[in-house]
């Protein structure tokens, strides 16, 4: 089993990256990528949901009839999300408020459902857990990168350093349109790199 860990993880995080290759989860991504902290939080929460739900789905794979699998997958996802939602409301009220509707909306995140339906439903629990974690990490990486770019262009800030005054930032980068444009450019750069380098061959 341990020998398969690495291939499963790289496949989920790189070759089949839910955001840059499958183009899933774009709605929450564009919505929360205005700030790095929100992007990182949502990414981590989604990773937790994918990992825990994936494990449970894999454990129940022989018990759930195919005909009702979608409601079951969604109910399991919803349970995990509700737990996290309540935990966030209790422990991190500010971030909970900042994420708003996008935290409960993890339930409908296509990336979660896609990994459950395509992978976890047919695999061993350990493999499903690794796949969920790696997919989530792959998504979080892209999300944080995009949030970093948007925050930088819109406010001139890199973490706590101010590279140029916030007043001369590109307001448009913080708007949804700017998010779409930057995401498109990011995809273009990744595709270009994919063609150029052998290092990334078959990856990302």
């Amino acid at each position: 089993m341990t020998s398969a860990v690495f291939p499963i993880a790289t496949a989920a995080a790189l070759q089949q990256n839910v955001v840059t290759v499958r183009l899933l989860a774009l709605c929450p991504m564009l919505a929360v990528s205005v700030s790095v902290s929100a992007a990182l939080t949502l990414g981590v929460l989604t990773t937790l949901v994918m990992m825990s739900t994936g494990t449970v789905v894999a454990l129940l794979r022989h018990q759930v009839p195919d005909a009702v699998r979608l409601p079951v997958l969604l109910l399991l996802t919803a349970s995990a999300v509700v737990l996290l939602d309540l935990a966030m409301a209790a422990e991190a009220a500010n971030m909970h408020r900042q994420l708003g509707i996008f935290l409960p909306l993890i339930i409908t995140n296509c990336a979660v459902l896609a990994r459950l339906e395509l992978f976890a439903r047919k695999q061993q629990p350990l493999a499903a857990a690794i796949d969920g974690a790696a997919s989530g990490i792959g998504m979080t990486a892209v999300l944080v990168l995009l949030a970093f770019l948007r925050e930088f262009f819109a406010t001139g800030a890199v973490a706590t350093f101010q590279l140029f005054p916030a007043s001369s930032g590109f307001v448009a980068a913080g708007l949804p349109a700017g998010g779409f444009i930057l995401f498109g450019l990011l995809l273009a750069v990744i595709n270009k790199l994919k063609k150029r380098t052998d290092l990334l061959k078959g990856c990302v």
């Binding site: 001369s168 448009a172 498109g184």
Partner: protein
């Protein structure tokens, strides 16, 4: 005289913006020329880089389309915006609004207007005050919006419009631009301002006349059928005036044109369906 190929057309259009550029230089000073230099260099450089990345022949940069976009952008932007803003608008216009959509002839949006809109949304502070001779005052249009009777009292205010009309008139005479487009645009604008009971003098202010001759006539982003063109240009003219009055900015021609660009294929289709 009939000018047929797109390179010759583009350079003629660029030349036709010269009277308007000269008028702007006369009114606002050498900043206009500096800005023209910045936008032309940024646009050309961006054009070369985009062509290189796509593996297209670099000679295509000589077709003049980047220069035309830069000239239009220079006139649209206030004369003293920081160079970075002007360069960003030019780069956005050429790199994103033009090359990302497949280059010359494939762009759904007018590149110069897309660049202007980006700069306008991102840096609104530079667009509220036009500076002439280092003294800052609100635009005549902003005054008219506030109901200031002093607005538009001097003939100087009509100068940019006259200069744009002179250059644009030459384009129409040479048949480089379809006369239906400016005419329908003006009709739409006049009708809307009458409907809204606006001061007629506001019609010659802002970029309205310039847009009528140089922006609306862009054959790539306009509707293609004759009927569609009447419908498209009249719609943009009406929108430009309506947005001026009811939008959140004092001059919204760029937004009217971008909305019109989206609707241009629909205009063609609507006219075709209606004729049937």
């Amino acid at each position: 005289m009939k000018i047929a190929n797109s390179t010759a057309i583009m350079w003629s259009v660029a030349a036709a913006t010269l009277p308007a550029l000269a008028a702007a230089t006369y009114l606002y000073g050498w900043g206009v020329c500096q800005q023209l230099f910045i936008t032309v260099s940024a646009a050309t450089l961006c054009e070369l880089i985009c062509l290189r990345w796509q593996g297209k022949p670099l000679a295509a940069a000589a077709d003049g389309s980047a220069v035309v976009a830069a000239c239009i952008l220079t006139i649209a932007l206030p004369p003293y915006v920081p160079w970075g803003v002007a360069a960003a608008a030019a780069i956005f216009a050429i790199g994103l609004a033009k090359h990302c959509y497949g280059g010359l002839g494939n762009n759904p949006f007018n590149p110069a207007m897309a660049g202007y809109a980006l700069a306008f949304i991102s840096f609104p502070e530079y667009f509220n005050a036009w500076t002439a001779d280092a003294t800052s005052h609100p635009t005549p249009l902003a005054l008219a919006r506030l109901g200031d009777p002093l607005a538009a009292t001097t003939w100087l205010l009509a100068l940019p419009a006259l200069a744009a009309a002179a250059g644009g008139g030459v384009l129409l005479l040479l048949r480089l631009a379809d006369w239906r487009l400016p005419l329908a645009f003006c009709l739409g604008a006049v009708a809307t301002s009458m409907a809204l009971a606006l001061d007629w003098q506001t019609l010659i202010q802002g970029g309205l006349v310039f847009a009528a001759f140089f922006v609306i006539t862009d054959p790539v982003t306009a509707a293609t059928s004759r009927g569609g063109r009447w419908c498209y240009a009249a719609l943009v003219g009406a929108l430009a005036i309506w947005l001026r009055q009811h939008g959140s900015h004092s001059d919204s021609i760029a937004f009217a044109i971008l909305i019109g660009n989206v609707l241009a294929p629909l205009c063609d289709l609507a006219v075709k369906q209606w004729r049937r």
